[in-house]
Symmetry: C2
Subunit: 355 residues, 2 copies
């Protein structure tokens, strides 16, 4: 604690990202990265842009990338905002749409950064408890609020909400901004993007970090009505006019254009998720039905923290959250088939050693 810190900075508990160990080689199933490389076309386009033009500022309006995204999703470029990863977009959304002292609502089990933003921007929140199977109780989102955030699929559970539930939430909250965080949507959930034309209060946030295998490039985007996008633009231009560098802009554009490769690696990950889920179920695990590139699992007889430690001893990193209701679960990112075969083998060994 320092006397130079603002009151907010004294108070906040910053987010802790999954560990990025440098001590040895792990099978890294802890930060939901894509096991496959980015598209060759992305790498080629970035390579071609590594030249003397890096002395010049990027386009602050990011027009080319926004046009590409607009075309891909069948909307207008003025309905697209791009930024430095979906976390930055979420932070900008808090500043753009919520006032200090407002009370927003989100599930008690969800992306833990939402609580951090609330604290950072002095926004209150009311947690809506998921049921025992981690389902979202949709009617609870019809209560009074100053804004809503829902991750779909939810993290860290991987459970998806049907589109008609989101539609109902939008209808019942038409004077409040409803943010649907679709970081993992490409792995099997239904996107809310088609609802943008109907609901001016809907903001959909996506990222290139997961399904486009570009976590290292830092690009996310938000889709919504022109007035929401203009709100985000006003925040950006009051903080940092150029949040995306020239290489990220070019790489992101190629990633969106290479739809074929995107489908290929997405399908591979979904297939792997399905067989791993079955295998773990057959080993006695409770496996929450996932529409994401991770699974959320617990074992009836083995403590979650202990299991996390055992995987780590076996050079496998997964994610354990020391939070109420989910401290017996582990979030396991879907790696390649080869990695998941090793994961399943090691799981078998660990269970046997503890029985």
């Amino acid at each position: 604690m320092s006397k130079y810190w603002s009151n907010i900075v004294k108070k906040i508990s910053p987010y802790v990202p999954g560990e990025q160990p440098k001590d040895k080689k792990y099978i890294k199933l802890n930060t939901n990265e894509n096991p496959y490389p980015p598209s060759e076309k992305v790498l080629k386009a970035i390579s071609a842009a590594v030249n003397e033009s890096l002395r010049l500022y990027p386009d602050p309006a990011c027009e080319s990338l926004r046009n590409t995204l607009a075309k891909y999703y069948g909307i207008k470029a003025s309905e697209v905002f791009v930024g430095n990863g979906s976390d930055e977009l979420l932070a900008f959304s808090f500043m753009a749409f919520f006032n200090p002292g407002d009370t927003i609502i989100f599930p008690d089990i969800t992306y833990s950064f939402y609580e951090v933003y609330s604290s950072m921007f002095s926004v209150n929140y009311r947690l809506i408890p998921l049921d025992d199977e981690f389902n979202v109780p949709v009617e609870e989102f019809f209560t009074e609020n100053d804004g809503i955030i829902l991750a779909n699929p939810n993290a860290p559970t991987g459970k998806a909400l049907p589109l008609q539930s989101i539609r109902k939430i939008l209808e019942k909250n038409d004077d409040k901004v409803v943010i649907i965080d679709e970081a993992y949507v490409d792995f099997g959930a239904r996107s809310s993007v088609p609802l943008i034309k109907e609901f001016e209060n809907l903001l959909v946030i996506q990222t290139l970090s997961k399904s486009r295998a570009l976590a290292g490039l830092r690009v996310g985007f938000a889709l919504g009505s022109e007035q929401l996008i203009e709100g985000l633009d006003r925040v950006k231009n009051s903080i940092n006019s150029y949040t995306l560098d020239r290489l990220a802009l070019i790489g992101a554009e190629e990633a969106i254009k290479d739809h074929e490769y995107f489908c290929e690696i997405r399908d591979k990950i979904i297939n792997t998720r399905e067989w791993v889920s079955k295998k773990l179920s057959s080993m006695g695990f409770k496996v929450i039905e996932s529409k994401a590139n991770f699974i959320f699992i617990s074992h009836p007889k083995i403590n979650g923290r202990l299991l996390f430690e055992k995987y780590k001893e076996n050079n496998i990193l997964v994610r354990h959250f020391n939070s109420p209701r989910i401290d017996n679960f582990l979030r396991v990112s879907i790696g390649s088939d080869e990695e998941m075969n090793i994961f399943c083998e090691k799981t078998k060994e660990i269970i046997e050693s503890l029985n």
Copy 2:
């Protein structure tokens, strides 16, 4: 104006960056970019990093780059913070060190983004008028305040403050954070970095956009006491854990390491600035003595806005600020000798055509 916007977003007037025209080819002297390409070693290192590792998140702690900067400046890595350009660092500093309702002070003529941040983060400001020669009246910074920001050299004037003036300001404000924005310091001003060991209230902010010719890569850094750096870290980790992508991290590191190339292009720009300043003086311009990679000029007989338009007609972009006291001045970035020869020739023609 939208009913969905927060009160702040309704109120703010975002910053407007210098134009990046796409209609035709200009000699671009309007955004203080470096006329020389980035170091070959930077381009080589980035090229080598355009590979499948882009699927993985960058190091959120940016350790390697922070170690390189710490070694370069002879300080500890815990005294170094890196971010997405110096604008982001300034925004984080407002959140980290100033409270809503605080009153900070900065000159009436300076980087116009300081007013935007103040508005964005509900911080009040008192403007300290520069004298008629654009000098900073140092004693005026001994008055009561909740924080100070000084650009050194100042923008858009290019005038530098001597180190003993900054020392006095630090001494008289030892319980407040004093931010020295050194975006342009490498072009001839004295850096305050050596004062970091003495003053725990000093934060120095620099960028790779100007002297390292990497505006397109978006990297800035802040140097200061461990407690100030920890404050910035807490803000970053409450907004976006990964603000620098893998390619920016690697490019920035090589740029700092290639000291020889840095000196070479810096010296060329300083030499060009000196002869251009003399030439413009001989043509009757008032040329403020600059320690930056731009000059701030006015002509006794020609209106600043008109001159701006005339340059634009001649395919030369410079910057005009429609602000009190400086609306008769133009800020002209220092280009290559070739570009500045054309600039001087065109200047001569414009003056003659208007006389």
